[in-house]
């Protein structure tokens, strides 16, 4: 299957500091790919290059064969890349419903509508008039996921869905994932919890110090290999 998105020898810098050293990555339509790795391994930087927040060489990132490195974020949303950012980053002055509505700002049509998001996360429907930030952490994460889905993306990118959430809430959020993926969605999931990442993904990449230290099918990659790749021992 042709890759929906691939990177080839992708590098990224913060000023003089190099954060990524030649990442080769690909994801096919319908796949869920997990990226795991310790803090500072370059996971978030990698996502920033995919969403246009960090500029890279044009052809280092390709969406359906087109070089998109350096394209500004808002254009990438219009082309079908939506993101659930780390720490959720809901808009405090917007209500829950407005937060969701603004996800559809790029006006890409598709299956995801307000009704569908409310059907997926019924609790949000009850609290639609509340400010987004008045919700519990787990509910806020649902808003952030719903907001990204409202863009009807070809590729959904989730950064650290479980960050700062209680285990029971993390479980609840990941239980909604099959509902979201039922009709086929392509997603990159960055996750610190390796067990969770393995369970929800088809394939995984392990990052270590700005390089890919391991890649393989999630179900067939033994935990020992992951530990070695994770810590670099």
């Amino acid at each position: 299957m042709a890759a929906l998105l691939q990177t080839h020898n992708l590098t990224a810098f913060y000023g003089d500091f190099q954060a990524l050293f030649g990442i080769d990555f690909e994801i096919a339509t319908g796949e869920i790919v997990a990226i795991i790795g310790a803090n500072g391994a370059g996971k978030s930087t990698f996502l920033k290059t995919l969403t246009g927040l960090i500029k890279t060489q044009k052809d280092a990132v390709q969406l359906e064969g087109d070089g998109i490195g350096g394209v500004p974020p808002h254009d990438l949303v219009a082309r079908g890349i939506a993101m659930v950012p780390e720490g959720r980053r809901l808009f405090p002055s917007l209500s829950v419903e407005e937060n969701l509505t603004i996800g559809a700002y790029a006006k890409r049509g598709g299956p995801w509508t307000l009704e569908r998001v409310y059907a997926t996360f019924p609790v949000l429907s009850e609290r639609r008039r509340n400010p987004g930030t008045a919700l519990s952490g787990g509910q806020q994460q649902m808003v952030a996921i719903g907001r990204a889905l409202m863009a009807n993306p070809k590729l959904l990118i989730c950064d650290e869905l479980s960050l700062g959430l209680a285990p029971v809430v993390i479980k609840e959020i990941y239980e909604a994932i099959p509902k979201i993926t039922a009709e086929g969605i392509t997603a990159i999931i960055v996750e610190q919890d390796v067990a969770v990442a393995k369970r929800v993904s088809h394939r995984l990449y392990c990052f270590q110090e700005g390089r890919v230290s391991l890649t393989g099918e999630s179900s067939k990659t033994p935990m020992e290999d992951i530990s070695k790749a994770y810590f670099g021992i």
Binding site: P73, H74, A82, R89, L94, E98, I102, G103, Y105
Partner: protein, 288 residues
């Protein structure tokens, strides 16, 4: 007794003009955290544009206003997109310095074109008409129009912010510019639209200002102060607050003028300082 009611009424009407001045300042600060110190000079720019149009084309000032509004909107868009967008950062200083520079440029441009003489936009007689309310109490037609325009602008801004896709984009960009860009919002364009609307309203305010009183090229900074005081008195982040701030400033000045013609402006400043002292967040602060 009537004289005091009259004073307050005239103050409210005057406050309408200050509210019109202040609305755009409030919008730009709300969306971009940008304090446009050239705001008052844009008022004068619009007023002189209105003067030139009525003077050369011999049309009604309202026709001139209809022409100046889109012109001001366009100027606002270009200024933001071409200049001010490059000054926006966590540091408020670059935008302050650049808008201060623009203020000087506009004043000198107007001086160059119109000299230091005062001018006025002829309103064709309505500036002297009034509507009698009761015996001994009347309201001027022009001040009433200005007040109603301010009311309409406030309602319009509130509706735009609360109920439209553009308004949501304004608020989202104001909250978190980077997250907004991840929603597909082009903040460069959104910022330019905010300034375009802010300066567009000055098309109305400037022409009214020129009809109401005499104008000179260096009047801008004084208008900026009134607009700024209205925003601070009302409280940042709420258009109704800005409207109320304008009215309070207008009434304070009118009362000052009534007591002693030399005190009007001063009493306005004093009220502003009292608000800063006792309620620095403004009288009607609200997070949008």
């Amino acid at each position: 007794m009537f004289t005091w009611i009259d004073t307050i009424l005239q103050g409210v009407m005057l406050g309408g003009l200050y509210a019109l001045f202040a609305m755009g300042l409030s919008l730009m600060f709300g969306v971009m955290r940008l304090v446009n110190t050239a705001h008052g000079d844009f008022v004068l720019l619009a007023a002189f544009a209105g003067f030139v149009i009525t003077d050369t084309l011999h049309v009604s000032p309202f026709v001139a206003m209809a022409l100046v509004i889109p012109l001001a909107f366009g100027v606002g868009y270009i200024v933001q997109r071409g200049v001010l967008n490059y000054t926006i950062s966590k540091d408020p200083l670059p935008s302050l310095v650049v808008t201060f520079g623009m203020s000087i440029v506009i004043q000198n441009l107007l001086l160059e074109l119109f000299s230091a003489d005062t001018r006025s936009i002829s309103a064709g007689g309505i500036e002297t008409q009034s509507i009698p309310l009761v015996e001994g109490l009347a309201v001027g037609v022009l001040p009433l129009m200005i007040f109603l325009a301010a009311l309409a602008a406030t309602l319009g801004f509130q509706w735009l912010f609360g109920n439209t896709s553009l308004g949501r984009a304004f608020r989202a960009t104001s909250d978190d510019r980077e997250a907004a860009s991840l929603m597909g919002i082009n903040n460069v364009h959104i910022y330019a639209l905010a300034t375009a609307i802010a300066v567009g309203v000055l098309g109305v305010a400037g022409v009214f200002h020129g009809m109401r009183t005499t104008i000179a090229p260096t009047d801008g900074p004084a208008q900026l102060i009134y607009a700024f005081e209205a925003v601070i008195i009302g409280g940042m982040g709420s258009f109704w607050g800005t409207f109320a701030g304008g009215i309070i400033l207008g009434v304070a000045q009118a009362i000052g003028f009534r007591v002693d013609p030399g005190w009007g402006i001063l009493v306005g400043h004093l009220v502003f300082i009292l608000v800063l002292l006792f309620k620095p967040s403004g009288l009607f602060p609200k997070t949008r």
